[in-house]
Amino acid sequence: MAPNPFAAAVDAGSISGPPAAYDYLSDRVFRILAYAGAGAVVVLVAYIVWEIGGQAAPAVAKYGIGFLTSTTWDVGNEKFGILPQIWGTLYSSLLALLIGGFFGLFVAIFLTQGFLPPKLAIVFRTIVELLAAIPSVVYGLWGIYVVIPALRPIADWLHETLGFIPFFSTSLSGPGLMPAALVLAIMILPTVAAISQDALHLVPFKVKEAAYGMGTTRWEAILKVFLPTASRGIFGSMVLGFGRALGETMALAMLIGNANQITLSLFSPANTLASLLASNFPEAGAVEIRALMYAAIALLAITLIVNVVGLFVMTVAVKKQ
């Protein structure tokens, strides 16, 4: 090791000392580990994409872009298309985001803006975050045995009285888009609520003081000052919640109904990409596996786009503050 550049600068009697060899070593090792860890993540993602892409390549070559725009999934005749699944994935996730995003944001406002004593707010926050700890399959069962029966009378009424509106054009037989979206909304609620809370917490105290100093009411301050200030972080939370909804598998496989149709009706069964993969993969033959890999690539691409956008928004939001 080179002579220690700091050694000469230190007084003999000083209690401070130059970095020892051990300090240099631990610093170097930590740095190497950090680089290796970061590199491994990138390599892992690249490897997964490469591996799935490699297995999907024959299907991509055979079915081309038509795979994304056709509607048949017929293993017997080797005809594959995933448009209904893409539609179902985006539709159910958007619905979930509408519902979950709305409630998540309000939970965040409720817990950060002094409506509750701070200690109680922490308890509530923990409870909301506990929602994220419930296994997906439990959500699915809950959806089947609680949400669907509870939803049925409302859905029947909507269908009977407002059946001319495309959204209510079919009756709810059981599993379908609406029960799936409702459960999905609850599943993304902790993500949206937690990140929105962080964003609202990051609103500088000076801004709050200034707002109240101007004589605003609490709601004026929240709606016109704090929310716009935290808007980028909140938007980021929505995007992350949307990304989570896109990839959710088990609960949706149990609740969406697995029907390969494109429909606007909230009560008819549909299908999603993740559900298609989970349901068909375990016993698929060689040809179907390639098609499923292609579908996985499509799902990966959709999720990637959403997450990149979300990450970008988050980064910008953090920089601004």
């Binding site: 609520a193 029907a259 149709q261 016993e283």
Partner: protein, 359 residues
């Protein structure tokens, strides 16, 4: 990104804990199983969900008497069962679709297919208002599954059910998602009886391209469960699965124009007239059972065995087990197994002959 990690953290920790506990439990179970199996044979089968409850009952009863051997049967669907059989990852498979010649050709050590049971495919449904005596003419149920009749109060259904107040409700068709022998038998039947089905080119197979609005579910039990939790649903399952969940089943119009409800007599009547038409591999497809009292949709279910096993004990155990199933196993007295039809005597004899060739 710190903020992004927070919400998932307790969830992830808990999930990790659950995984670890589950893994430990699985390892413990593995260890326990390995001990009991030591010094004996362990035979693995997979396939048909249609016949699975019967096979499970056979295995239970058989293992009670033969302590040394251990059999397992995994209900994964006929198509998947045949795939595993072809890939040589099981010792035997169950299928309600007869094995194809090109599949037999792919297996070097020979295939013995033994009809092990037969059963009725029923149309189970769930309708509000406790309707449980629905009658469906043949053109009507074909049209329902082809996607042509979409509402329960369709005039064609109402015409066949005078006096029944049918609701103004969409029909939710439930079909199989996985490759299934039940689907094969059912589509063979629809293809035989319905010009509409043939025109649509929906065809016959272990999986077909169902109309888009059909909900697709895995396994007989999955279909039955989906019908149970839905309102206005109809689907095709083996009779016992409908019974187990107390689902009402439709009386179907048979070839003679009579409406027949599934029953042991109606099933036996359907089998008796066709038993002599099996080919040398004991395959047969009863697309449309003849006879005035016969239930129209019946199918055999086969056990697929290899012609040769390297392990002599495996071969003899399978010979004993399947032989026992063909005789004593035919009349298991259990209410939820009453949907299975005991094989006619001449079919049992043919099965035993085929079984004896296994080495």
């Amino acid at each position: 990104m710190n903020a992004g990690c927070k919400p998932g953290a307790p969830g992830r920790a808990l999930a990790g804990l659950i995984t670890v506990l589950g893994l430990a439990a699985a390892l413990a179970a593995q260890g326990a199983r390995a001990e009991t199996v030591q010094g004996s044979t362990w035979l693995q089968g997979a396939g048909s969900t249609f016949a699975a409850p019967l096979y499970q009952a056979w295995i239970e009863a058989w293992q009670g008497r033969h302590k040394g051997s251990s059999l397992t049967y995994e209900a994964i669907g006929s198509g998947a069962g045949i795939n595993r059989f072809l890939a040589d990852t099981v010792d035997f498979a169950g299928s309600d679709a007869p094995i194809k010649d090109e599949q037999i050709a792919r297996i070097g050590r020979g295939v013995v297919s033994v009809p092990a049971t037969a059963g009725m495919i029923v149309l189970a449904y769930s309708l509000p208002g406790g309707i449980d005596d629905l009658k469906l003419p043949r053109d009507v149920y074909a049209a329902i599954f082809a996607g042509d009749i979409t509402r329960w109060n369709d005039p064609r259904i109402e015409a066949a059910n005078p006096g029944v107040k049918l609701p103004d409700l969409g029909i939710a068709v439930v079909t199989r998602m996985d490759a299934s022998g039940t689907t094969f038998a059912f589509t063979s039947h629809l293809n035989a009886i319905s010009a509409l089905w043939r025109e649509r080119g929906l065809g016959v197979g272990t999986s077909v391209d169902w109309p888009g609005s059909a909900m697709q579910v895995k396994g007989n039990e999955g279909v039955a469960q989906r019908i149970k939790i839905s309102s206005g649903a109809i689907g095709y399952v083996e009779y016992g699965f409908a019974k187990r969940l107390n689902l009402p089943v439709a009386a179907l119009e048979n070839r003679a124009g009579k409406f027949v409800r599934p029953s042991a007599e109606a099933g036996t009547a359907a089998l008796s007239e066709t038993a002599d038409t099996m080919d040398e591999r004991l395959r047969i497809s009863i697309a449309d059972a003849p006879g005035a009292g016969a239930y129209p949709i019946v199918t055999y279910s086969w056990l697929l065995l290899y012609g040769h096993y390297d392990d002599e004990i495996k071969a003899s155990t399978l010979r004993d087990f399947v032989g026992w199933g063909l005789t004593a196993g035919q009349s298991m007295q259990r209410d939820d197994l009453s949907g299975y039809i005991p094989l006619p005597a001449n079919v049992v004899a043919k099965g035993q002959q085929a079984l004896a060739t296994i080495r």
